[in-house]
Amino acid sequence: MTEGGASAGVHSGASFLDEKGRRTGIFAWILSSDHKRIGILYLFSVLTFFFAGIVLGFVMRLKMLVAGPGIISAQTYNELFTFHGVIMIFLVVIPAVPTIFGNFFLPLHIGARDVSFPVLNLMSWYLYITGAVLALVSLVTGGGGIDTGWTFYAPYSLRTHANVPLAVFAVFILGMSSVLTGLNFITTTHRLRAPGMTWFRMPLFVWGVYATAWVQVIATPVIAITLVLVLIERIFGVGVFDPAKGGDPILYQHLFWIYSHPAVYIMILPAMGVISEIIPVFSRRNIFGYKAVAFSSMAIASVGSLVWGHHMFVSGESYTANWIFSLFTFLVAIPSAIKVFNWLATMYGGSIRLEAPMLYALAFIFLFSIGGLTGVIQGSLAANVHLHDTYWIVGHFHYVIFGGMGFGMFGAMHYWFPKMFGRMYNKRLAPWAFVLELVGFNVFYFALLVLGWQGMPRRYYDYLPEFHALQVVATVGSWVLVAGLALMFANLLHSVFKGPKAPANPWGGSTLEWQVSSPPPTENFEKIPVITQGPYHFEEAGQV
């Protein structure tokens, strides 16, 4: 049912995919400042690096089938997990949902034609590609592949012969991309909402991306300067983190995590926004507690910026700092839980349709809850002494990042696929890919949680015989997971070109993107709509 009062045309002009401008071929894409094309550029870049990260992880798991040197050396293993982390965190998980779906849908959601700074938006993509290329070049130049872990802890990052300078410079460039995207989205949300779209009539996805944008602008510069300090220290020896010169390595950790903890909220908040979009549509019910969900996004961004010390409980941090950070860590679980309760309340009494987007949304809630609860456990000081730097931590963050953000992203990919490409994916295949992913994921990462609890350290390429059985279980789980991913991406990629044509509103959604054609025309709306109600309205008479 079209938005009451909206005058946007459903039948408007050519799709943005086909629009012929002054430029042709590839230049029409890589020089385009259309937010939708930029979103697609990011989609293919981010997914390319996602595949690279998966391959690295797959090889790591293969090696871990046996203890000690297996198919690769210890040094290579260090480089593998470092690169797996750098690629997954900086090239995939941090950018993914904001740059792909935020770019594509933020303007559509607020009734705008584009973001506030379209050319700056394209520059963000170029900065992303530059950073990515530099990171890859650092693998094969200078001292070769970094082996510090994605965390670049001093003093090892100051001493290792690996090409730390180029790698940290690459991350610096990626950070610039993130800051510019963040400020673009904040300005867009403040300035370009359609007439009648008050703050509390915005879709919750916009709240998710908006809250994230603030973290991007405020926290990213801190890691930028931290990595610049590492660079300067390696080149000039200033002594900032070098204990031999009075520097404090724990101070490095403070600065690093002041960004990198809020970074995980950059990862999860947009994905939570996606879930808030999917659940109402596939329950045929308005979201329960709109304001609570909106404010919880801001609360997670704020309180989540106060917990970074929980990465350093056993590093030498003072006891005072320890319990303060532990307290905040417990508190930040509250707004996340509020979201979960509101999603469940939305579903209650609703008419649930278990299409692929909804399957991924439900999996998100399950997997993120496990991840979040394990987070609270390791946030408790006594438990942390045993769990820090074990596979428990690895299991925890894969549950929240991969199970949370990852599955949320897969949900977004399926939910918005028809809108972005004007075609539908194979609906019979999709649930099977989902099942393989869900089963493989849990077999794999739950085994890691158990292994960590039993004491298996992380980033070790060798292990005691008692851990062997579960290592094998984890690896087999990874194979099932990868099979599911392969099936899912094969389905989606094939359907981009050969899928059946999709209508404007295949799911019966009520937010503005569903009021325009699939794919949307270049200008988004024939006429900017005038908004007279909230974003979710499923409980009117006559709703299907």
Binding site: S116, M197, I232, V240, G246, D248, L251
Partner: protein, 208 residues
């Protein structure tokens, strides 16, 4: 509800000056946190090495530091006057004020050059034999001195380049009394560079 200006901007694809300023302020915010990280490092190491930091500040030329502070404050004045002039369509005054701002920025950089070479001449530079023989707090003080004033200096240099471009745009009438948001945003950047120095000055030259 977005204001009428933004709504019209949306419809007619025209520049949204207030939006452009908001974007610029957000960029300034990111710069504040970039330097903020360094201020955090400074505060920690100062706390741990109060005597050495005191001694380090005594090594600085208070005269040059004060001079540079006044130079930058004056450049902020000329910057603000340049914008005020363009608002009044006084292209000539705006250009002169921009020129003075750029000149003052170069004076600042020249002063910095003299300061640094004086220190380097005395053997005080990162990893120097002399510095490494000093107490740890002294090594950290000078490490931070070079890093923070160096990063600030880079920002002054970039500012000088940006303002030179603005001068060209003013001369070519691309920036005029109807459309000067580029100049305004450049001004915002320049004033932030001034503000950062307003804090660096006491931290490195004055605090005992």
């Amino acid at each position: 509800m977005t204001d009428a200006a933004a709504s019209t901007a949306i419809e007619h694809h025209h520049a949204d000056a207030e939006g452009a300023r908001l974007g610029m302020w957000l960029f300034l915010l990111s710069e504040i946190f970039l330097f903020g990280g360094l201020f955090l490092v400074y505060s920690v190491y100062r706390f741990k090495n109060p005597a050495d930091f005191h001694a380090g500040a005594a090594e600085m030329s208070r005269f040059l530091g004060t001079l540079n502070t006044v130079v930058l404050l004056t450049s902020s004045l000329t910057m603000a006057l340049s914008i005020a002039a363009i608002q009044r369509a006084n292209r000539s005054l705006s250009s002169w004020m921009l020129g003075f701002t750029i000149a003052l920025s170069l004076v600042f950089l020249v002063n910095k050059y003299f300061e640094w070479t004086a220190h380097i001449g005395r053997g005080i530079y990162p990893n120097s034999h002399y510095l490494l023989s000093q107490p740890k707090g002294t090594i950290l003080f000078f490490g931070l001195y070079y890093t923070m004033t160096g990063l600030h200096g880079v920002h002054v240099l970039v500012g000088a380049l940006v303002l030179t471009v603005m001068l060209v745009l003013v001369r070519k009438r691309v920036v005029d009394s109807k459309s000067y948001v580029l100049l305004e945003n450049s001004g915002l950047y320049w004033h932030l560079v001034d503000i950062i120095w307003i804090f660096l000055f006491p931290l490195f030259y004055l605090i005992t």
